[in-house]
């Protein structure tokens, strides 16, 4: 562990390589270009492979190609780039390939703007591809959490044989923060991970075993319904094990601000402002946004809590839909959101919370 001051993009890149990532492909798009730039400098020294794809489409398929051989692989992009990757993300889910995908969100719909947003909530949690496939979606609230999430994402990807999605944003990519960077796993561990994949499921040397086939869909031995039932069992397993959230000053809370990812930092600052003024306000922060932490909202004491303010950097608001489903009408849910690179501001959130509390 070492304390370093790093830019978000570079921290994610460094963490990935320390977590054993030995293949990265990507295509330039603001605001995450420092990821491929950083990895292109360091990956060759680790004996790994960096490739700049001719498009996001090619890049995600390169990831698919590295993953079928059992190489730890990661791809990063931003919003519209993820839209282009959508088809192959479905293939990765269906073919059960353990890769890590990170999205540094910019504006949308369309090319939007390069400003930071949280405009891809539905895309990340509900519809990253056709066919209704799901994957674990992490939403770190700080660069330290982003680094830890990268390590965890590779582990979970391996555990569930699934792509894992890290939902970041333009602020997290561009901002610098002091972080503790974990030590790298050893070359031996990296080799052992690949070897294990080769033994269990990856394609390569066929000696001493039957042929394997990998396809993002029904294969010659597995009808689609059977495959989808198998995948669903995995989603249910994740829903059981991977719920992750934070309660902040919730014990005596009469009002709740709820936010996730980068938005939660401004929400936390707003809670602090309001607490200093004597308001009993707490925060619920989903850390994984799929599976969504419904239990956090079930645990609210609705005899005490009189209102919930959901805040995010997306117009129209998207995260609020899951909040409403979770709250089930037990308290009124209010919205305050920004978009188009307009960054949430703690003072503004506090103002909206005071409105709610009137």
């Amino acid at each position: 562990m070492e304390k370093v001051f790093m830019k978000g993009c570079e921290a994610v890149a460094e963490a990935a390589m320390r977590a054993g990532c030995r293949y990265y492909a990507g295509y330039p798009i603001t605001p995450q270009n420092q990821v491929p730039e950083y990895i292109s400098r360091k990956m060759p020294k680790l004996g790994g492979v960096f490739m700049q794809g001719e498009s996001e489409v090619a890049s995600i398929n390169m990831i698919y190609g590295a993953a079928v051989g059992g190489t730890r692989s990661m791809i990063t992009s931003s919003s519209c780039g993820l839209s282009l990757m959508s088809e192959t993300i479905g293939w990765l889910i269906s073919a059960e390939l353990p890769v890590v995908i990170a999205n540094f969100q910019r504006g949308g719909p369309g090319i939007g703007d390069i400003g930071p947003t949280q405009q891809d909530y539905f895309q990340a949690t509900k519809a990253h591809s056709n066919g209704g496939g799901r994957m674990l979606v992490m939403s770190p609230g700080s660069l330290q959490e982003a680094i830890d999430a990268v390590f965890e994402a590779f582990e979970k990807a391996n555990k569930y044989r699934t792509p894992v999605y890290i939902q970041l944003d333009g602020i997290s990519g561009g901002m610098m923060e002091s972080v503790m960077m974990p030590d790298a796993i050893s070359d031996e561990e990296v080799a052992a991970l690949k070897q294990k994949a080769k033994e269990e499921w990856a394609v390569g040397k066929m000696e001493g075993r039957e042929r394997r086939e990998i396809v993002g869909g029904a294969d010659s031995g597995l009808p689609l319904q059977t495959l989808n039932q198998k995948l669903e069992a995995k989603y249910l397993e994740m829903e059981k094990n991977e719920v992750k959230y934070e309660n902040y000053l919730m014990e005596d809370a009469e009002y709740v601000i709820t936010a996730y990812g980068i938005g939660s930092r401004f929400a936390r600052a707003a809670v602090n402002i309001l607490r200093e003024e004597g308001y009993k306000v707490g925060m619920i922060r989903p850390i994984n946004i799929y599976p969504f932490p419904f239990e956090a909202y079930d645990a609210i004491d609705y005899s005490k809590v009189k209102g919930i303010l959901s805040t995010e950097m997306s117009i129209p608001a998207q995260f609020i839909h899951d909040v409403q489903i979770a709250v089930k009408g037990r308290a009124p849910v209010y919205n305050y959101s920004t978009s188009g690179g307009v960054i949430l501001d703690a003072v503004e959130i506090a103002n909206h919370a005071r409105e709610m509390m009137k």
Partner: protein, 185 residues
């Protein structure tokens, strides 16, 4: 204790670099954390350039903020009026050769200086942002002064060790001026 700083200027003035040096220096202090986020206009040079710095002994909450404890205006010509970034207790550092007044910005605490003029005086015309860093550190004592200088050497001297001497002169000149202004209050 969380300290927030907004450095505001126009592209090419070294606003971002000054903010980064403060953060790198803060990280050298045990127990301190820092965040830094730069916002630019579309133009690489001459466009808006705001740099948000937060330094704290706890995990930093918001890395971007509309108003801050300290606002450092690298010029009076910023696209957005720095007055918008001030709270009642904000210290506004204003770098300009012109005779502007605290009242022009509604600032209750106001530190006026001519960074370019000072940089010229120490024969380092490109060292304006070093002067500004010096004044900020000298006046607020936000970080140990020698630690900031050490960081300047590290971050700028790595590629251009030949500028270390000039940068030190500009920084120390700012530092003394900052301390003197504080003492004069």
């Amino acid at each position: 204790m969380e300290k927030t700083i907004i450095m505001t200027g126009i592209g090419g003035q070294g606003v971002k670099l000054a903010g980064e040096i403060l953060c790198y220096a803060a990280c050298k202090v045990d127990g301190l954390q820092a965040t830094n986020y730069a916002l630019y206009g579309r133009a690489k040079r001459g466009g808006m350039s705001d740099c948000f710095v937060a330094i704290s002994d706890k995990t930093i909450t918001a890395p971007v903020f509309a108003k801050a404890d300290i606002v450092v205006a690298f010029t009076t010509e910023t696209p957005e009026n720095p007055a918008n970034k001030l709270r009642e207790d904000t210290i506004l550092f204003m770098n300009t050769p012109n005779d502007v007044k605290a009242e022009d910005y509604g600032a209750n605490k106001f530190v006026l200086f001519d960074g370019q003029g000072m940089a010229d005086e120490v024969q380092n015309p490109k060292g304006e942002n070093m002067v500004i860093l010096g004044i900020l550190v000298g006046y607020t004592n936000i970080l140990p002064e020698e630690l900031v200088l050490e960081t300047i050497f590290e971050k700028l001297g790595a590629r251009h060790p030949e500028f270390n001497e000039l940068n030190e002169k500009a920084y120390r000149y700012g530092l003394e001026k900052g301390k003197a202004m504080l003492a004069a209050e």
